[in-house]
């Protein structure tokens, strides 16, 4: 029978996918059309949500985009009832149709191999997609050292941001003495602008669990924690379901898969602290304390959770593991560049035509991701910069768009690979404003332990705030650079060491924009309101609309005559500009 599958990730639900699902369920229950109804996670094209896929009996697949509840009737009548594809709505089909094919053509899906294909709440779906086969193979081989060597050979590096070799981390933890060991899955995806981990957990939680169980076997841990952000209720719900299912199927608990190996996993909800993405802070949080980092060494591999050897790996890292075990280290190492193997998942957001989740091989250029995969900039405006790595990362300007994605190349630009948030900005983004935004975030999230991170970020924020308010002073840029170096050098953990990156890269590539704010008191991107001047052009038709909305009565004029703004009264709120129907309010 024909299957209708609805993408129910958080993005889809926000766009109304649950209503679409309910409408379909109503028809299903009433028997108005003969079809099976199923759900899946994130199909990836967030920009076309709600997405549904129709799988016919002959195995052909057609995906439709923007399927709101009101489109369900027509879809069922024509596609399911009469077998007639509604061409205008097709975004992708396995026979070569669809408007969004380019989005998938450059992608290599390892981590996202099951996302949008299987029902994340049904272990049967995962098992049918070779799920837990890797775990079985590992248990059968029963050689943790060979397993670790394979992961080392694959070249898999931690996908949380720092890029440490996963296999080496496991080896250190395995070699550490002591009976009790832990493995932790870091799902505290705190970078604003990043949602890869959320999507993977929502769409294919078992692949993460399986990778984690394999990791536990490799290092000899019998207990594990998954630390998830509380802001991701759907991911938590689906992880809980997956854990319960894995337990009933014998993949978790005593005697995993009939072997002598036992492994128990607990889910811990984060409580909203960005710094807990740092491994020692994360462990403090699991222990029930304030999430503050501590000095390393000792590294968690020797002294981690409750002083026991601990390996902490990211969601995406774990999701790669079963694929590597099944397909071999060589297959993985054949993808990517010399020092960065495999693929990377990016959360594409910002001023881009096709925003969503993409998985591309390492070594692809930023230009290819932005223009080929994601279709370029919204409204065809000018591409200005991409922000990579969130508050710890930096800006890569349009001039450097041929930079390839690998850990070292990205580091050379001053940004970092980070967890994979890629926010694209066009000419309307003001670098001073966006930099201020990032620093506001890190300053607020600093745990307060190190003086320079606590006070230095505050001082930097004050400088940036006064620049964007039009009160910048000569030497402010140099002061920022100096403070940035101090904060970098004297902070204990990644938060402070990387917090100045957005500031440093913004100054490095967009220095003139800072100077325009300070010297000319102008915001070239028209974002910093105190620096803007509003004037009414001769094209004004005299409709009085702007005079009515002006909160300070700065706009005056008579009906059908050109109005005037009294600059001494203007508070730069921009309301007149917004309401004008003939674009007669100019901003500069």
């Amino acid at each position: 029978m024909t299957r209708v599958v609805v993408g129910l990730g958080t993005c889809g639900i926000a766009a109304g996918a649950e209503k679409t699902y309910d409408a379909l369920a109503k028809h299903h229950a009433a028997g108005t059309a003969a079809f099976e109804l199923d759900k899946t996670g994130c199909i990836g094209m967030c920009y076309r949500e709600p997405l549904i896929e129709i799988r016919s009996e002959d195995g052909s697949r057609v995906q439709y985009g923007n399927v709101t509840a009101d489109k369900v009737d027509r879809l069922l009548a024509e596609h399911v009832g009469e077998g007639r594809v509604i061409e205008d709505w097709v975004v992708w089909a396995d026979d070569g149709r669809g408007t969004e094919r380019a989005y998938f053509s450059r992608q290599t899906r390892i981590v996202l191999r099951n996302c949008g294909k299987i029902n994340p709440e049904a272990i049967e779906d995962y098992l049918a997609a070779d799920g837990y086969m890797a775990l079985r193979a590992v248990l059968e081989q029963d050689d943790p050292d060979a397993l670790i060597s394979a992961i080392v050979d694959s070249g898999l590096r931690g996908r949380g941001g720092a890029g440490f070799l996963t296999g080496m981390k496991w080896r250190f933890t395995r070699l550490a003495g002591g009976g009790r060991k832990f493995i932790i899955c870091n799902a505290d995806e705190g970078d604003p602008g990043a949602f890869m981990d959320r999507s993977v957990l929502e769409s294919d939680p078992h692949s993460v669990l399986e990778g984690m169980i394999i990791g536990a076997f490799a290092i000899g841990a019998h207990e594990g924690y998954i630390y998830v952000r509380a802001e991701y209720p759907k991911a938590i719900e689906r992880l809980n379901i997956a854990i319960a299912q894995a337990e009933t199927h014998g993949f978790l608990g005593e005697r995993v898969g009939g072997s002598s190996f036992s492994f128990h996993v607990k889910l811990k909800e984060g409580a909203g602290a960005f710094v807990c993405g740092e491994e020692t802070a994360l462990m403090a949080s699991i222990e029930g304390r304030r999430g503050m980092p501590r000095i390393r060494p000792p590294f968690p591999a020797t002294k981690g959770l409750w002083d026991c050897p601990t390996s902490i790996n990211n969601v995406e890292t774990f999701a790669n593991v079963p694929w590597i075990v099944l397909n071999g280290a060589e297959a993985f190492a054949s993808i990517g560049t010399a020092n960065s193997k495999g693929t990377k998942v990016f959360a594409m957001a910002g001023k881009i035509k096709r925003g969503g989740l993409v998985e591309v091989p390492m070594g692809i250029s930023i230009r290819d991701i932005v223009f080929d995969v994601c279709g370029g900039i919204k409204k065809d405006r000018k591409f200005k910069t991409v922000q990579m790595g969130g508050p710890s990362g930096g800006f890569i300007p349009a001039e450097l768009q041929d930079t390839v994605i690998d850990y070292e190349s990205i580091n050379r630009t001053g940004a970092i690979m980070g967890s994979g948030g890629l926010v694209v900005m066009d000419e309307t983004a003001c670098m001073v404003d966006v930099t201020r935004f990032f620093l506001e975030f890190t300053q607020r999230e600093s745990c307060g332990k190190c003086t320079f991170c606590r006070v230095g970020t505050k001082r930097m924020l004050e400088v940036l705030t006064r620049i964007s308010n039009g009160e910048g002073r000569d030497g402010d840029v140099e002061l920022l650079e100096q403070l940035a170096q101090l904060v970098k050098n004297t902070s204990l953990c990644g938060l402070g060491q990387t917090a100045p990156n957005p500031v440093l890269t913004a100054i490095r590539y967009f220095r003139s924009e800072f100077e325009a704010h300070i010297t000319n008191r102008r915001c070239p991107a028209h974002q910093c309101k105190p620096l803007l001047t509003y004037t009414i052009l001769d094209s004004c038709v005299g409709c009085l609309l702007c005079a009515k909305v002006c909160p300070t009565k700065a706009v005056t004029g008579e009906l059908k005559k050109v109005h005037v703004i009294d600059q001494s009264k203007c508070t730069h709120c921009g309301e007149c500009h917004k309401v004008c129907r003939v674009d007669a309010v100019a901003v500069y």
Partner: protein, 159 residues
Amino acid sequence: MSAHRRFDFKKQHFAGQEGRLVPLLQRAQESDGYITRERIAEIHRECGIPLAQIYGVATFYAQFRLHPVGKNLIRVCHGTACHVSGANDITKAIEDALGVSDGETTADRMFTIETVSCLGCCSLAPVIMVNRDTHGNLSEKEVKRVIRQYQKAATGETQ
């Protein structure tokens, strides 16, 4: 707000678990709406965790509130994507519609506005979350319409 209901620390509520303080506080906030003084005292008494540690943890994490919130919690996403797509204007529109500032609760205890770092729906920016429902691709006009819906529902209940 309902009266203080005691937790059963011996049988439920993460009994015997290491590091139970954070989940305990999460459970407390779920049942009481915020972390009450009574609950802090109770956890201290029953679990033997020092008051200073409980208070320290409760004030460290952004999730925990020491004051009650309105019936509808509006979380305005100020992630990177939302910021460049005008999240500040969205917050302002909500403030205008409700007559209170970010972080405040309306006098009738119906709405609280809160700023959050990222809700992870970046491709639908700007985004807000009201209670458990996410609303994306908002404009100032659209967000006012969303708020009106909740206001209508709220007045419908009180009448």
